[in-house]
């Protein structure tokens, strides 16, 4: 599959980065995390971002997720220039369009799986009944039917990550951002999580951007981008295994 043909089938660009840079600190201590990223992500893609530590992939994901802002350059999400949005507007953008999955799961302790999944809907002012229904459905999708009332400490790492994925997809986001989602899991559990993400991408048409440093995991994606020293070193299509 050629890159051009994908662009034809997935015509709508979801995310556009134009010469995005990010500089931490000032003066002598200034550090360039991103040195001019040009990138376009289309709806329905499954991206894997790879690269050694310090190559800027986490910074990229933070900017993509509207948690951080670019120093210069232009980031357009669904036609909106995010660089110009306020902190509040970016929070609303996250609320309505972005789902996060972290390496450390980041679930609320002493809170049941169901309540964890319901949380993003709470901020969306979804009614109690509807919230309940959608959270249960999301948990069923990630294969945790029957585990709704367990707290994170009663779940295995793989199960916790499934809860986190359910929490990310319960709002039906435009893009799911995953930061080393398998970083804390063994190979078998990692494969299960990757299969789940692949299924979500194919069946639910959710756009996924995943940061990983494991080539095995990256191979599940259909586009692999390598970062090096704050720049895109390579951008290749990938035939799924």
């Amino acid at each position: 599959m050629k890159s051009d043909s994908i662009k034809e089938t997935l015509k709508e660009p979801l995310i556009t980065f134009q010469k995005v840079t990010k500089i931490y600190g000032k003066g002598q201590a200034a550090m360039d995390a991103l040195r001019g990223i040009d990138l376009t992500i289309y709806e329905g893609e499954f991206l894997a971002i790879m690269g050694p530590s310090g190559s800027g992939k986490s910074t990229f994901l933070n900017i993509l997720g509207c948690l951080d802002t670019a120093t210069t350059g232009c980031y357009i999400f669904k036609g909106v220039e995010v660089s110009k949005l306020s902190r509040r507007q970016r929070a609303l953008l996250r609320r309505h369009f972005i789902g996060f999955v972290f390496q450390g799961y980041n679930l609320l302790n002493r809170t049941t799986a169901l309540e964890n999944v319901e949380m993003p809907l709470l901020y969306r002012r979804v009614s109690t009944v509807e919230r309940h229904r959608r959270a249960l459905a999301a948990l069923e999708i990630v294969g945790l039917k029957g585990w709704e009332n367990h707290t994170p400490s009663e779940l295995s790492g793989g199960q916790q990550q499934r809860v986190a994925i359910a929490r990310a997809i319960v709002t039906e986001p435009a893009v799911l951002l995953a930061d080393e989602p398998t970083g804390n899991l063994d190979t078998t559990r990692s494969r299960e999580i990757m299969d789940l993400l692949t299924a979500l991408n194919q069946d639910k048409k959710i756009t996924i951007v995943m940061v990983t440093h494991e080539p095995d995991m990256a191979s599940y994606a259909n586009r692999i981008i390598n970062f090096r020293d704050g720049l895109v070193a390579s951008d290749k299509m990938n035939r799924r295994q």
Partner: protein, 401 residues
Amino acid sequence: MFWNIILLALREMRRNTLRSLLTILGIVIGVAAVIIMVTIGEGATLQVRQQIASMGSNLLMISPGKRLGPGLSSGNVPFKQADAEAITKNVSSVVAAAPVSSQSIKAIFGNQNWSTQVTGTDNNYIRITNRTIKSGREFSESELHSGAAVCIIGETVRKKLFGGQEALGERIRLEKISCEVIGLLEEKGQSTMGMDQDDIVIVPLSTFQRRISGNQDVALIHVSIKEGASSERVKQEITLLLRERRHLSANDEDNFHIMDTKEIAKMLTGTTQLLTALLSAVAAVSLLVGGIGIMNIMLVSVTERTREIGIRLAIGALEHEVLWQFLAEAVVLSSFGGLIGIVLAVVSSLWLADFLKVPFVFNPTITVIAFLFSSAVGVIFGYFPARKAARLNPIEALRYE
């Protein structure tokens, strides 16, 4: 959303039950202390009022000397019986005036003895001070004139000297005289100053003067005035009359003092109210300290839950939503403390009122104020930690270990 925030706060409280209880202890004690102080203080004030009302509402007390109170200091010209008679005769609106002299004397009956207050006066005294004869009779005119050895005794004296025995008709010894008991006074209980008003033996004034004090002096004059009459006017008239009778020139100051019940009431309730206000202020400070305790715990909680805040912010919670969440927690905590404090206050004031023998006066206003104040403490001291939480950088908060 509002309800959700409250539910969330309650759940957070339940997660850390012990810590939550310790946190609100300051508020509990503060609210309880304020309400108890006010309740007991108002009970005491009411008691003072009731006792003053039982003294007789239109009572004037005339004492020699400039100073307040019934104390007789040397150098003051005492009154005579004729002064009381003159007041009754010459001042309008006066119902009765009773000359009073008293002395502490040991009363003896059989092998029982009891130190008591022996008061020399006339029948008017019994009426003016709102007392009644339970059994027996008042003094007769001839007894009053001749200085007969008769007495009317209070319940305490009867109990101490006679126990279960019949007292009427018996003779008790007061110093050198032997007095026949002709009447028993109805019980009256403790006075405002904490004195037992039933610990009393009344004898005719002439008897007292001739056989006990040995002079013609009268220590006090009790005057009762007509219902509805202006006590100010009566006081003026009495002042004029007494100045003339005591031969004071225009430049001399009064060498006597007239107190009315209103004045006594004002003095006594004033003291109680001042004390109540003072103690309540101290209690209010403990409420403030309780608030600082809440702020302290909320700050710890924000630090502990940095990651949670990071997750919420990443998921799309707005700053003000996180602020409200933590503010709600502080307010729920402090209001809960306020509620417990109110319950504690009602229970302990009931007990204390019973123990101190003051009436229990429930004051809904102070209860509501104390509760609102405790919630306000939550808002004020919860705001700073809540703002700190809301302003966290989500990326750093997520990385926080």
